[in-house]
Symmetry: C2
Subunit: 401 residues, 2 copies
């Protein structure tokens, strides 16, 4: 059994990491460049956007992980400009960004991972980035985690940090993290970025596997509007400073703890979704396969009719049944069960509209739970989404200038 | 080369059809039951919803087409109640609906096709339906097409009719049609229904093939919010009254004419989409396959960020490129071209923001054209969608009671 508990702090909660966030003028105001560094190159892992249109920093970081054999000294992230759709110029700036990090931290450029978030199709100013990296590198500290978390935001409501401490038979280790969410208030900003750190001692391939497992149930299980950006990136670095070795016995605890921290960050991203007033956990169970459970949950989570019904507090089982029915997965309406909160609204192929008031009560809260039993198997998945409000439309309809 | 021209009228524009629309009290007020009948059982075809949750009238009509060897005397459609998620009771009412039609028109029950649209999870009142069928059957006329088109509406802005006359070497024939759209103002109403009629002389299997071809480029190429209902149905009946035989030579003209009428109806449905202020034609071309072209066009057409950008008049090429990139189809960003109206906003992997004002001008109109060249092939597809407005959210967030 895994044991972990939430603790205070962010990316520097685990031993062996320092961080800084500075203002270098990419944004009109505020912090806009973060550096999070280990004391030496350490095992690293990453999950990148599946969008075919891939921003320069993603291409550079992916290449660096290959060149360095998945070893990284630091992660450098800027906000205010995504450096996407910027052609060869963008690639040159991205490479220079890593070179500047390497110069100030004393490592190879391939040992620097980078990420950018902000407006796309606009050139990133390399001089400002270089100045920011110099400033951040010289002020790295254990206390710098909050500034770093602030520096990667675009229009998020606030910084997103999480951390946890795990116990294993071989001793304790920590996981920390920060994220930048889907606060897409400025058009062309839709990026989800996160950095997870741990002081567990884990080889890069195992770290990569654990990160992938944790991401599938967390960052890949959230949606605000079904969009996937050109820059989405999740990094993980493992300092090993706790001395706790991750082997087959302790691996499940690493996955669980990474997942717990990632889930806290992922849920915070949804809560901060544009115009969102409710966090909605959609659990699809009774599915034939895990993939089908995930697909059904995503379909419900992205249904405009479901999201608007939740927004309006309408316990509309019909929209849930219809969305499940069009998800393209095995589904038996006669054995399906639809619950909002604890209230069963649909079962044996028929609705129970007389129970609507209890479900409506549940929908008045800010944390909504919807469950659909597909009636055909034993697999399940949860996806977190938010309601769809007129405010979302207002925000995203505004002309950029 | 096919030759056809639009003509006035709806489902009775072709010879051999009569129609009526009556009020039988399913809705609180207004016409709510339509009968469209041929003079005798004629070849029939249908395309039904792919939703796993299938309403009783869909199950009954599908079974009737099998039993009758694709022959039908009439189509009976009610609005105000979808007869979906109504269990065995709903099946009994649906069968009785066909039996009442058969009794009044003097044919076998299997020669009656039925459809329902309206609230789901509520029992359809069989007595009202029977009364409506009796009244409609006794008032069928060539002039009844508009009443029939009105009787199938739920919260649509107005009736949707179209008709065309085609010329072939073997003579002329007509196609007519009516549709009920995606005016989903009352929750749980999302059904798209259409009936196409023709006086061409065509065997049922060929009519089915022609209908499928026409539907794929029209009713299956529109979206308001990506939802697919439990009741979606398109019927076609061929009276043969023109005497013009549809063989291999005239088949393309039949498909083109069915497609033209279906497109007029489909586009009218999108124009009447909830809260819609603009009709948006999204053309994906340069695709590797037709399926990929369709998939890319659908992804763009359902992107909330694209739909809100159009609503706000923002020529946001970035959202178009990012949506194409996440569509899961072959796409080369360096060879892609994005146009809004006639203005190229993105090419060679870079944007042309200086051209934004011309594109913004185009977006101020009510008919918007967006083209994305995926840069990898020669296939293309068009999908019609509408903008996403705060009004859509308001309409769909309202509590049902």
């Amino acid at each position: 059994m895994s044991r972990y508990e939430s603790i205070a702090g962010g990316v520097t909660a685990p031993d062996g990491f320092r961080a800084a966030g500075v203002a270098c003028g990419i944004k009109a105001e505020g912090l806009d460049l973060a550096v999070v560094a280990a004391g030496a190159p350490v095992p690293a892992a990453a999950v990148f956007t599946t969008n075919v249109v891939t921003a320069a920093p993603v291409l550079v970081s992916r290449s660096h992980l290959e060149q360095s054999d998945a070893s990284a000294r630091a992660v450098v992230i800027n906000s205010g400009c995504a450096n996407a759709c910027t052609g060869d110029t963008g690639m040159a700036v991205a490479r220079a960004m890593a070179e500047a990090g390497a110069e100030h931290l004393g490592c190879a450029p391939a040992e620097i991972l980078i990420a950018s978030t902000g407006v796309i199709g606009v050139d990133l100013d390399g001089a400002k980035v270089a100045r920011g990296i110099a400033a951040a590198s010289s002020t790295l500290s254990r206390q710098g985690h909050l500034d770093a978390a602030r520096a990667i935001l675009t229009t998020d409501l606030g910084p997103k940090e999480a951390a946890a401490r795990a116990e294993t038979g071989a001793g304790g280790f920590r996981v920390g993290g920060m994220a930048k969410g889907a606060g897409m208030i400025e058009p062309n900003m839709a990026t989800m970025l996160a950095l997870l750190t741990t002081d567990a001692k884990v080889a890069a391939p195992r770290l990569q596997r654990a990160l992938r497992e944790a991401v599938d149930d967390t960052f890949n299980a959230i949606t605000v509007d079904g969009e996937c950006s050109t820059n989405d990136t999740v990094f993980a670095l493992a300092s090993g400073a706790s001395g706790v070795e991750i082997d087959d016995a302790t691996y499940p605890t690493l996955v669980d703890t990474l997942r717990a921290v990632a889930r806290d960050l992922a849920v915070a991203i949804v809560r901060g979704g544009e115009g969102a007033s409710k966090l909605v956990a959609i659990r699809a169970h009774g599915a034939r396969t895990l993939d089908e459970a995930r697909h059904a949950a995503h379909t419900l989570a992205n249904s405009l009719l479901v999201k608007t019904a939740v927004h309006g507090g309408d316990p509309n089982w019909g929209r849930l049944v219809a969305a499940a029915g069009r998800a393209g997965v095995a589904f038996d309406p006669t054995r399906a069960v639809v619950r909002i909160g604890d209230t069963v609204l649909f079962e044996h192929g028929r609705p129970f509209d007389e129970r609507a008031p209890a479900a409506a009560d549940h929908l008045r809260g800010t944390d909504v739970e919807i469950q659909v039993d597909l009636g055909v198997g034993t697999h399940e998945a949860t996806v977190w989404t938010c309601d769809l409000s007129a405010e979302y439309v207002r925000i995203n309809s505004e002309y950029r200038t």
